[in-house]
């Protein structure tokens, strides 16, 4: 597996503030990498460091095993799709897309051929002579991607590329980006704060917070067993309980929590203090009168219709300062005020070591 992108020990300070702290990241060539985090998490700074717009104070930036640190952006094998697209308003679509080729000294005939090819790839073949202000938001986005792809970068950097689009167009562009990435075989590094977008696009999802990588891996692994409390709560809705491990066994671990002992199947981390998390869709409403062991008993506070399921907010007397989220696909969910019991399989839980956090 060749390393398309390899970052090692990246540090960046701005004045008194640590913007990036000890970033290590390796992504296979041709993979779709998504940096996900809230604003101020350092994800855009990291993108700029890979592009060469900013220099890291320390650390290594390698693309296809070549150190590109210190190179100006124009000499790096990267190309960027900017948040505002940065399409040149005084040039036609074709001239915009051909700009990079022209800068690399390609002749007109070859340029025209490659521009036509990439415009066909993004479905804009008939738009070559249009001016930028005659395009819709989605079309501009595709021109921006085409302009960057045509110079055949080893890593394509996308800075919140779908942020300016409305929701339905955004979902459509996500699919198109994914298809383009597979077709071109280019490594994509995509920055977003939209966790749904991140999960649907990423081969490698990188969750960032406060200048650190909280978790990195396939999106389904991060969703099912996040490595940190932040990753557990930032990526999708979650229920989190603090607890202490009371017994470890091959068959499972028992954790003492505010709701009483919880039996958990997943492997227990080092240390006794842990967080137990369980997704709202892994919680089940117990059938009335059932004698099975309950995870929690409480009162329904709020019922929200969410299309394929109802979202219930449940509060329990045992831990009145916490609200639990339960999804129910029953078409006749309990009314607000109803007393309910909730169960969960031991496999539904995942455990996070409670470190300094």
């Amino acid at each position: 597996m060749s390393r398309g992108l390899h970052l090692q020990g990246i540090e960046k300070r701005l004045g008194q503030q640590d913007v990036l702290r000890g970033i290590d990241l390796t992504a296979a060539s041709g993979s779709y990498v998504v940096l996900l985090g809230p604003s101020g998490s350092g994800k855009t700074t990291l993108l700029n460091i890979v592009a060469g717009f900013e220099e890291a104070d320390q650390g290594l930036v390698m693309i296809d095993d070549e150190d590109v640190g210190g190179l100006p952006p124009r000499l790096r094998p990267t190309a960027t799709v900017f948040q505002d697209y940065a399409l040149f308003p005084h040039m036609s679509v074709a001239d915009n897309v051909g700009f990079g080729l022209r800068m690399h000294g390609l002749g007109k005939a070859e340029r025209d051929r490659q521009v036509a090819e990439v415009l066909a790839l993004v479905d804009l073949a008939s738009f070559a002579d249009r001016r930028i202000d005659q395009l819709s938001g989605g079309q501009r986005q595709r021109v921006a991607v085409a302009r960057s792809l045509v110079v055949r970068p080893k890593v394509l950097l996308l800075d919140e590329p779908l942020g300016a689009l409305d929701l339905s167009l955004r979902r459509q562009m996500q699919r198109e980006l994914r298809i383009l990435q597979k077709k071109s075989g280019t490594t994509f590094l995509h920055v977003t704060h939209d966790q749904e977008e991140a999960m649907s696009l990423a081969d490698l999802l990188v969750v960032m917070n406060g200048g650190r990588i909280e978790d990195a891996g396939p999106p389904d692994r991060i969703f099912d067993s996040p490595a940190s409390l932040f990753a557990a709560t930032f990526v999708g809705e979650n229920n989190v309980l603090r607890g202490r491990i009371t017994s470890r066994a091959k068959t499972g671990t028992v954790i003492e929590t505010a709701l009483g002992p919880v039996k958990v199947q997943s492997e227990a981390p080092e240390g006794d203090e842990v967080y137990v998390t369980v997704r709202p869709n892994r919680l089940r409403l117990a059938t009335p009168g059932s004698r099975a062991k309950h995870f929690l008993r409480g009162t329904v506070e709020e019922v929200t219709f969410l299309g394929t399921y109802y979202g219930l907010r449940v509060r329990t007397e045992v831990a009145p300062d916490m609200a639990f989220h339960v999804h129910s696909d029953d078409r006749t969910p309990p009314e607000p005020g109803a007393e309910i019991a909730v169960t969960a399989e031991p496999s539904a839980f995942s455990i996070i070591a409670a470190k300094a956090s």
Binding site: F53, P73, T80, A86, F88, H90, G100, M103, R147, S148
Partner: protein, 279 residues
């Protein structure tokens, strides 16, 4: 009275003033320019004689050429100084320095141009600061710069560099920095970034400033009159001579209309160029 009439009435004072002091004199001047002065009265027949006179006598044509040449030289020198100034101000200056720079550019607008011209006359005179400074460093004998065409150019350039800097600056600051990043990212070095991105996008400001500089230089009477020394007359000075010395109002009107026609033509061409450049 109908409700709709009131807005029209409100327009009356302004329109009356405009008609009385602009439209009527202009019409009178146009009308008069087609008659010849005969003694203290106008000739009886409409004629193109004043215009034919203008375009056939070397005295007038020389003045026309002097005006156009002055306009081009002043515009050219001002642009050469103003563009780098505006560029540095918008790309390499902190917000504080930008404010200071704009303040400095605005200063000449707050002083009377008569006062400004006389100040330059003093500065450029034999014992003025400029001559003294040039003398003291043994650079070149600047003695006698006052009352020359060079003095007129210096006076003009001083003012129009500031004007051009402002129009160009306003174009440059509006260029999103991401355009420049995008161009660099796609492999462009500084020369390409400048010629393909920055220059074309600053053209509207450049053209607007150049047009204003050229037209205002062409139409200015005070600066060449005070600083120029009356050796190489420009059109505005010739017009004044017609009025003051000859009392030939029809001829003055005809020259004035030629000057106006040139200014209007330049403005129209510039407007077209701006809308083309900013598309």
């Amino acid at each position: 009275m109908r409700k709709g009439l009131w807005p029209t009435l409100y327009l009356f004072p302004a329109s009356a003033l405009f008609v009385l002091f602009f439209v009527l004199p202009l019409a009178a001047m146009i009308w008069m320019s087609f008659y010849q002065q005969q003694g203290f009265v106008l000739g009886t027949e409409a004629t193109l004689a004043n215009y034919l006179n203008f375009f056939s006598k070397p005295y007038y044509l020389q003045a026309l050429w002097n005006s156009l040449w002055m306009g081009m030289v002043v515009t050219g020198i001002s642009l050469l100084i103003a563009y780098p100034l505006a560029y540095i101000l918008s790309f390499h200056a902190s917000a504080t320095w930008q404010r200071i720079g704009i303040m400095v550019c605005m200063l000449p607008f707050w002083t009377s141009y008569v006062v400004r011209s006389y100040s330059w006359l003093l500065a450029l005179s034999n014992n003025g600061v400029v001559s003294q400074a040039a003398d003291s460093i043994g650079f070149f004998p600047a003695v006698g710069l006052a009352n020359t065409t060079a003095a007129t150019i210096i006076g003009f350039v001083h003012f129009f560099v500031m004007l051009l800097s402002l129009t160009i600056f306003s174009s440059l600051v509006r260029i999103p920095r991401s355009y420049i990043r995008a161009a660099q990212d796609l492999g462009a070095g500084w020369p390409s970034v400048f010629t393909r991105i920055i220059w074309p996008l600053s053209l509207p400001g450049v053209i607007a400033g150049v047009m204003l500089t050229f037209v205002l230089t062409l139409g200015d009477y005070v600066t060449p009159q005070i600083l120029g020394g009356g050796k190489e007359l420009v059109l505005t000075q010739v017009i004044m001579l017609q009025v003051q010395r000859q009392g030939n109002f029809p001829m003055a009107g005809a020259i004035n209309l030629v000057l106006m026609a040139i200014s209007i033509a330049v403005t129209l061409i510039a407007n077209r160029a701006i809308s083309k450049a900013s598309r």
